[in-house]
Amino acid sequence: MNAPFTLSRQAAPRLRLTRVLLYAVMIALAAAFILPVYLLIITALKDFSEVSLSRMWDLPSQFSLESFNRAWNGGQGTTGMRGSFLNSVIVVVPATIISCLLGSMNGYVLSKWRFPGSETLFTLILFGMFIPYQSILVPLVMVLSSIGLYATLPGLILTHVVYGIPITTLIFRNYYASVPRELVEAGQIDGADFFGIYRRIMLPLSAPGFVVVAIWQFTSIWNEFLFGLIITNDPRLRPVTVALQNMSGSQFTQWNVQMAGALIVAVPTLLVYIFLGRYFLRGLLAGSLKG
């Protein structure tokens, strides 16, 4: 009876010390994680006259939006990102919507209408999520050229939709697997057909699944680089990531403009992360298969 009491009395100060240490470590780590973004922000907010490598870590003495203005509108040898930002929006929105619809339908079929071999087909679809895209680039460019979609935004949309099929199918299939089989059977007894069950039973339950998949596709397509680089072989059609890479490669001296550009590219997905982080996390974990 006495033992635990003495134990906790001895342990208390040590425990408090561990606690303080724990917080110190966690706060230090959080600071390290934020460091690159901090650098981006303080640099991008500096007046051009204050931008110097030796004063990289100094706070701006006055706030200036010059860098953002240059990164967005261009000028003095810099190509602005405004057009690219619009291109990205034009690609991301339809690609995300189509991905959601396709993924939802595939997930419904593969979870509730299994047929002999459907599990094998599912595994074959999933493999598409792991391939390095270098291994399909050569024929992709050829096929897109031959159907007139090379160097066009619809070509980029099509590519994102196709290579998004594995992950969207996976997320929806796992999501629908949790819908009880009895619900579907009840629908069948009530005379609902394939689409009736989808519309009246599955869709009303699907909102969280759609949010997870939409956020996942939005984030990954917005951040994607390789397809954007290869397919939009035209400066006017570039998505933001390609525009940023171009800016960082060619405008080595104007690094404050690059940093402002980097923030512009990061803001949309960061906003989604801040407000809908829970759903983002679910999509992320689904990518490791078991969810």
């Binding site: 270098q134 057909d193 689409f195 951040n223 960061l270 996390l281």
Partner: protein, 329 residues
């Protein structure tokens, strides 16, 4: 009597409708199946075929040359460097990410206040593009020629000058061993380290999230019981928590390794493969072969090698995963 007749009729109608629904279901899946068959398997097959031909972008020559392109690649100093860099990058990234990710998960899971804030901060780089990461970290890891910049400057002002290094400008290889038969020196090109660290910054939060999900699925009672039995925290971790997290570790290794083998944008933005190809990996070399040197056949060979590497890792995992799911049902 009428009831007896009606029932089988109804059942027959239902089963007719069911088989029609099954057909509809298959037809709804068909477009995706065709797309995957063409864009994944067809394209891979074509790439493999091109990799055994004389195809250059200027001259479309699909005559079969066997494994010539592959033999040529493996004999190149540059491709040997690519493979060395890829192995070093992947090993560093994987090990640091796993250890660091686990540490973050244990910290966040230790019952501190504001755990969701810490978790969100550790995970946010996952929402950012590799290009953004590359731009930010390139400046942090630029050592500065005349006076220190980036992290070196920060270390100086914090009195941590001993941490200063040449980072992405470092051309040296450590320990620079010569191996008979190889055209490259081993083992670690020092410039790969900062690139791997930037990748860790981006992905360790993902690893943490996986471990956190794993930790949450371990019933508290098990760890509590061990503590009551007098196990130290270290023993609980070593003998209970870690073994129970083994499936998570396996998944994390597969996901992180395949991401690492495919890494392209981060390295392109941070170093462009330099200095002197010290950070170049096959994905970058493939891009250059195809789009700058217009040597399509050799580019396809590099791509196929990359695909084989990724497949060796992911195919067994997919098969294992499918078996495990089949066993559950």
């Amino acid at each position: 009597m009428r009831l007896d007749l009606a029932l089988p009729q109804k059942a027959a109608a239902r089963s007719r409708r069911l088989s029609r629904d099954r057909l509809t279901a298959f037809l709804m899946l068909l477009p995706s199946l065709v797309a995957i068959a063409v864009f994944v398997y067809g394209f891979i097959g074509y790439t493999a075929y091109v990799s055994m031909s004389n195809y250059t972008t200027a001259r479309i020559d699909l005559s079969f040359v066997g494994l010539d392109n592959y033999l040529n690649l493996f004999g190149q100093r540059r491709f040997q460097e690519n493979i060395r860099n890829l192995i070093v990058f992947t090993s560093l990234f994987l090990v640091i990410c796993l250890v660091f990710g686990l540490a973050l998960a244990l910290l966040v899971d230790s019952g501190v206040r504001g755990e969701s804030v810490f978790r969100s901060i550790y995970l946010f780089p996952m929402a950012v593009s590799f290009i953004v990461t590359g731009v930010a970290w390139r400046w942090l890891f630029t050592p500065g020629d005349l006076e220190p910049t980036g992290l070196n400057l920060l270390f100086d002002s914090l009195g941590l000058g001993f941490l200063k290094a040449r980072w992405i400008a470092d051309t040296s290889v450590w320990p620079n061993i010569e191996v008979p038969g190889l055209k490259v020196k081993l083992l670690v090109p020092l410039a790969v380290i900062p690139v791997a660290l930037a990748a860790v910054w981006q992905m360790s939060g993902f690893c943490m999230a996986m471990y956190l999900a794993g930790l949450r699925s371990i019933p508290d009672e098990i760890r509590e019981a061990a503590r009551v039995d007098g196990c130290s925290e270290w023993q609980v971790l070593r003998h209970i928590t870690l073994p129970m997290l083994r499936p998570i570790t396996l998944s994390a290794i597969i996901v992180l390794t395949h991401v690492s083998l495919k890494t392209f944008d981060l390295i392109l933005t941070m170093t462009g493969g330099g200095p002197g190809n010290k950070t170049e990996v096959p994905s970058l070399y493939m891009y250059e072969l195809r789009f700058s040197q217009f040597n399509t056949a050799e580019a396809a060979a590099v791509a196929t090698i990359l695909l084989i590497l990724v497949s060796l890792l992911t195919v067994p995992y997919l098969v294992y995963n499918r078996r495990a799911q089949a066993a559950e049902q």
